[in-house]
Symmetry: C2
Subunit: 111 residues, 2 copies
């Protein structure tokens, strides 16, 4: 019965598996620490708290890295993000992308 309820809940949610990076990998851990400076706008677990700050949790690693590089180069424009990304090395970007991609997210379908 409990298992049935769990299966129903699982089926009712579109579950997103985390990226390839395991929660224990060094990059993920480095990213978790580096991400403390991102938390004011993007939340401690990558859920944005400002109306123009996107959620980063569970985003594809490739996407996250590409956007950080675009902010760093100025190709993608955002006053705060262009400043924040300026200071990031390629290694920092890889770590941050690994961290946010490692967080599992679920979406609940509308009734």
């Amino acid at each position: 019965m409990a298992r049935g309820a769990l299966a129903t809940t699982t089926a009712a949610l579109a579950l997103l598996a985390a990226g390839a990076a395991g929660a224990q990998s060094p990059a993920v851990e480095a990213g978790r620490q580096k991400a403390q400076m991102c938390a004011a706008c993007h939340g401690p677990l990558g859920l944005g708290s400002a109306p123009d700050a996107p959620h980063l949790a569970g985003q594809p690693e490739i996407y996250l890295a590409a956007q950080l590089k675009a902010f760093r180069s100025g190709v993608r424009r955002h006053e705060q993000m262009n400043v924040m990304a300026k200071a990031l090395s390629d290694e920092d970007i890889a770590a941050l992308a690994a961290w946010y991609a490692s967080l599992k997210i679920e979406v609940q379908p509308p009734r």
Copy 2:
């Protein structure tokens, strides 16, 4: 007991309330229909299926609308999105933003 387990589960998840738009609002429904053209890359419920396609489910409505307008004007560059957004009216953008913002997402903290 069941209530205790539920409370624990709820506490263990960082729950994100959906935006202001209710699931029944006309804009959300219009957006749901319009979003069918987005599903190939962003999934039927806003979870991206391509490595460079971000998840849109639960993103802030203001952020979603701003990004679609930036893609439409070309300020934010992405080959496919610039083409897709070109055809969108302000009303389309508002509806799409309302739809994706209406989807509730949860993030599971790493152990």
